[in-house]
């Protein structure tokens, strides 16, 4: 009997544990360790953050789902990994602190470990950033509720005749997830228009991207109207059409009440005043401490300095010109321990995708590489498939899911209304550009595609319901693609 432990019940971990349970025989056990009692469909947090839907619509309790499917659920936050066991036993284990109110520590032994702990929201890296400080966020449902309340307050002030300044974007020079910030700013503008107060609002999109539309992946090229056009064109067009200003190449260095302090790529420092600021935090990894059998710390064997887990990627430090698609991991297996895998955002990327940039003061200002929902789920499924194979006697992983060989679809909402809403629906293939295979643009332009319209909003709605249905493991769930 094998015991598989999955850390994290987000897009990647939940997909991995669901498929592990489906494919493994009853004699094997699947345990999920995760600190929150609920599953959160994060992409729809955007709509919670503008007050369009309630937070209950984007979460559901995990325990009943796992009970029904015979998956053990431990509500706890893992903090240490002992991949060689300890002096009393050579069975590997993790240690987690319960988050169900008891505050106990729990030791969970494993034969196979999947680390799918996603990002740790690193608000602390920018003084004054984030909930409880001077700006709001939409990364968690609770944050999104606060953002919606703050927006409502601004709308009331505008109804009373006051003008309001909105700043939306990235709260640090090394943030990722620019797509989410983009979605939020256009949804916010849409809601202001619907509330009849658009004329009282100034909206600024403040980003670390070199050009808008980069999204941490160098942007994408699309065939349109007889031209090959960069996503910058469409992104700027959406902003210009809606009267949203944008400021690129900016590192937010501090957020004070009502003022964002930034440095830009030219090295200049400046300030932006605001009444409402939604700024995303930079991400880091869960940051486990790792011990060997004797109890000596060996964290760096498994974990990169940014807290993400090292896997089968090429981590050699090299200049942008030498970056290769093949540097990206294929199996997500740890090279130190063959029974340890990292899926979704939890794996350490070999390097960025967008070109790294540094200001004359030495401040890096460039987006970190994104790992969106679709690749996170595909990676979780592939890791599950490989573990099932290894439990069945395979000597190692048989399947690969490199982000340089996989595409992604992303539907970015630009206004939530069934009849006059819209969304930008995009596909890219592959996610990580491969200039050896596609020398001109790094991607296959036949499969890299995007357009804006109401149908995009219908797709976004469809995905919201479909993925929540799938995550609840309702009948036929495994037939719904990742």
């Amino acid at each position: 009997m094998a015991k598989v432990v999955v850390l994290g019940a987000g897009v990647s971990g939940h997909t991995a544990s669901s498929f592990l349970r489906k494919w493994l025989g009853k004699s094997h056990s699947v345990t999920v360790v995760s600190p929150k009692p609920v599953y959160n469909w994060i992409p729809s947090n955007i709509w919670v953050g503008v007050g369009k839907i309630s937070p209950e619509k984007v979460v559901f309790p995990l325990q009943p789902v796992y009970e029904r499917k015979n998956i053990e659920f431990i509500q706890a936050r893992a903090h240490t990994i002992h991949p060689e066991g300890d002096e009393s036993s050579s069975t590997p284990f993790i240690v987690a602190g319960r988050t169900d109110g008891s505050n106990d520590s729990v030791r969970v032994p494993y034969d196979y470990l999947v680390n799918a702990t996603g990002p740790k929201l690193d608000f602390g890296r920018t003084p004054g950033l984030g909930p409880g400080h001077n700006s709001v966020s939409v990364c968690e449902p609770g944050h999104a509720v606060e953002a919606a309340a703050s927006l409502k307050e601004s709308i009331s002030k505008m109804r009373a005749g006051e003008r309001q300044k909105f700043v939306v974007g990235t709260g640090h020079g090394l943030c990722t997830c620019e797509g989410a910030a983009w979605e939020y700013v256009v949804n916010l503008e849409f809601e202001l228009r619907r509330s009849g107060v658009r004329d009282k609002a100034e909206i600024l999109f403040l980003t670390n991207e070199y050009e808008v539309g980069d999204f941490g992946m160098g942007g994408m090229h699309l065939k349109r109207g007889g031209y090959v056009i960069h996503s910058k064109t469409f992104t700027e067009s959406v902003f210009a059409e809606r009267g949203i200003k944008w400021q690129t190449r900016s590192h937010v260095k501090a957020v004070e009440p009502g003022v964002v302090h930034f440095e830009d790529l030219s090295g200049a420092h400046g300030e932006v005043p605001f009444d409402f600021a939604m700024l995303l935090p930079p991400f880091k990894g869960a940051g486990f401490t790792v011990f060997d059998k004797s109890g000596a710390e060996i964290t760096e064997k498994l974990i990169a300095p940014n807290g993400f887990m090292k896997v089968d990627a090429n981590y050699e430090q090299k200049p942008f010109e030498k970056w290769l698609a093949s540097d990206w991991p294929t199996t997500y297996q740890s090279t130190a321990y063959a029974n340890v895998f990292a899926a979704g955002i939890a794996f350490a990327p070999p390097h960025g995708i967008s070109r790294p940039m540094v200001s004359p003061n030495g401040t890096p200002i460039a987006p970190a590489p994104p790992r969106t929902g679709m690749p996170s789920a595909s990676i979780g499924k592939t890791v599950a498939r490989n573990i099932v194979g290894m439990i069945g006697g395979e000597p190692g992983p048989r399947y690969g899911a490199s982000m340089s060989k996989m595409g992604a679809a992303c539907v970015a909402s630009a206004g939530a209304s069934l009849w006059n809403g819209s969304a930008a629906a995009m596909t890219v293939f592959p996610i990580v550009p491969d200039f050896d295979t596609y020398p001109d643009y790094g991607r296959d332009l036949g499969y890299t595609f995007g357009e804006i319209g109401l149908s995009g909003h219908w797709i976004k709605q469809l995905l919201h319901h479909m993925f929540l249905y799938k995550a609840k493991l309702r009948p036929g769930w495994s037939l719904i693609p990742e």
């Binding site: 067009s237 902003f239 210009a240 059409e241 679709m374 399947y399 009849w419 219908w458």
Partner: protein
């Protein structure tokens, strides 16, 4: 002369914008129904390409 200097200062002046026809088509239901089908087909094709690949 005045309007020229304001053009030079306004970054939005240099940006591609949709025509009224493009804007109309974005919410024109019959066209959007077709685009809904087309995008879903494209997405399915791309998902097919992105499945986990057996390693050699």
């Amino acid at each position: 002369m005045d309007h020229k200097s304001s053009i030079a200062k306004d970054p939005e002046y240099f940006v591609t914008k949709p025509t009224a026809f493009t804007q109309f088509m974005r919410t024109f239901i019959p066209w959007q129904l077709l685009r809904f089908i087309v995008f879903n087909l494209k997405m399915i094709r791309m998902i097919g390409l992105s499945h986990a690949k057996k390693l050699d």
